[in-house]
């Protein structure tokens, strides 16, 4: 996940490179650092560097990192020939390398030869049982074959060993959500919030899951987490503002029979509604009537 400033910088570099302004190497380095998936651009600009002998030699030792990056991007874009060529170059330079072995197994995956890829990974794991990337590739194979339950099982085992891998927790949460196993997804987000309590997107996702689960307690907790998202993002998160309105309405619906237990919630909803109106006025004034009718539906 990237911050707004990082994303802005990335987009600036991307448009610069796309319009022939140079800076391809910086762009590719930033993508590598932020671990973003823009494989078609990486492939295009990476190849333009690699195919130009002058640019290639100016990279020095970084050349091999670029070959690896372009190989993975090529596999993502299904340009298997390009990937094969890059891997060939790398294996000539680094024979018997585990890193290259991993790329070769990934190529088998990309070709759809999942069994062979699995065997290749298993043999790589024998020499290096704690290689995180290989463990995660095995999860990816299960997912690609559509065996979601196996993917969950492997990801669970992985997280027992590597508990601090946030991306893995997020992946597990997303898998659970796609299977509508919201309770388990909530647990994953709880782990993420514990690990990174100031990262607003986890609060937001957690609130969304709680709202989807429903029930008075979950809705009240969801409202708290939408509020904390708003706090952490300085009031700029539209989804959290909408979330507050939805939660307040849903809680009121549920608590209709009860005796004025949550009467203080009205203020938060009106504050959220006011903030939404202000945002729409400044960013999308033509959609203001739509917002107003939505808010009317949600008012008590």
């Amino acid at each position: 996940m990237v911050t707004k400033t990082e994303e802005a910088e990335l987009n600036r570099l991307e448009s610069q490179v796309e319009h022939g302004g140079g800076g391809a190497w910086e762009y590719l380095c930033l993508i590598r650092k932020l671990k973003i998936r823009r494989s078609d651009k990486v492939l295009k600009h990476g190849l333009s560097i690699l195919n130009d002998p002058k640019k290639r030699s100016s990279l020095g030792d970084e050349e091999w990192t670029l070959y690896e990056q372009v190989a993975v991007a090529a596999m993502d874009c299904h340009s298997l020939g390009v990937a094969q060529d890059c891997i060939k170059v790398l294996s000539k330079k680094f024979p018997d390398s585990k890193r290259v072995g991993r790329l070769e197994a990934m190529l088998l995956e990309a070709k759809g030869c999942f069994e062979e890829a699995e065997n290749a990974y298993l043999s790589l794991l024998e020499d290096n049982p704690l290689d995180q990337v290989i463990h995660k590739r095995r999860v990816a194979i299960a997912k690609a074959q559509g065996d979601i339950l196996k993917a969950i099982e492997w990801l669970d085992k992985y997280l027992e060993i590597f508990m601090a891998d946030h991306d893995a927790w997020r992946e597990l949460a997303e898998i659970y959500i796609s299977l509508q196993m919201y309770k388990q997804a909530a647990f994953c987000y709880e782990e993420l919030i514990l690990a990174q309590p100031t990262f607003p997107l986890y609060h937001l996702a957690y609130a969304d899951v709680l709202y989807t689960l429903g029930g008075l307690e979950n809705l009240q907790t969801a409202k708290k987490y939408y509020a904390s998202t708003i706090d952490l993002t300085g009031g700029k998160n539209t989804r959290a503002l909408y979330g507050i309105c939805l939660c307040t309405y849903a809680i009121a619906q549920l608590a209709k029979g009860r005796n004025k237990e949550d009467k203080e919630s009205g203020e938060l909803q009106s504050l959220a509604a006011a903030a939404l109106e202000k945002e729409y006025k400044s960013r999308a004034p033509s959609k203001l009537p739509l917002l107003n009718s939505t808010l009317k539906n949600l008012r008590l």
Partner: protein, 157 residues
């Protein structure tokens, strides 16, 4: 219900759905179909499509509720209503509707029983690039609330 039901999808709707799926190649996407039902002619006109979400947001309730509210409000003003649902799966060869898609489809069918559920067909999309075969890249899913209602469809140009 007697007679065959026909579905016509306008070019705008069709293209919007496909473009949305192409923008998010690595995740599942979904969308809502809006249009009119002409009971006299037995024709469901899908005149527009609203791309909704990609990846996790598909299965989460808050955004869906707000979206449905706003769609009904906006298109209601133009005399159009919800007539169907579109879903594209994450994997290339996956044409099944998973539980989430079925739940949303059910919800829409309760509201409009003649609703169409469209699923993206990646094989036809690939064929478009190679062989210039112009068959539509969406298929009406075999899953429906009332099987006998979903029969043929045609893409209008």
């Amino acid at each position: 219900m007697t007679g065959e039901l026909r579905y016509e999808i306008a070019q705008t709707a069709y293209i919007k759905l496909v473009l949305h799926a192409l923008k998010h190649t690595t995740s599942a996407v979904n969308g809502i179909l809006v249009g009119r039902f002409d009971a006299g002619k037995g024709l469901v006109e899908i005149s527009d499509a609203v791309p909704l979400f990609h990846s996790t947001h598909i299965a989460l309730l808050p955004s869906l509720e707000i979206a449905l509210m706003q769609i009904e409000e906006y298109y209601g003003g133009q005399g159009l209503s919800l007539v169907g649902y579109f879903h594209a799966n994450e994997r290339f060869d996956d044409y099944e509707l998973n539980n989430v898609a079925k739940n949303i489809g059910d919800h829409i069918c309760r509201y409009f029983p003649q609703a169409a559920i469209l699923v993206l067909d990646n094989r036809n999309m690939e064929a478009l690039l190679k062989v210039k075969d112009l068959s539509p890249v969406v298929q009406v899913s075999s899953y429906s609330f009332f099987f006998y209602m979903l029969s043929s469809y045609q893409a209008s140009t």
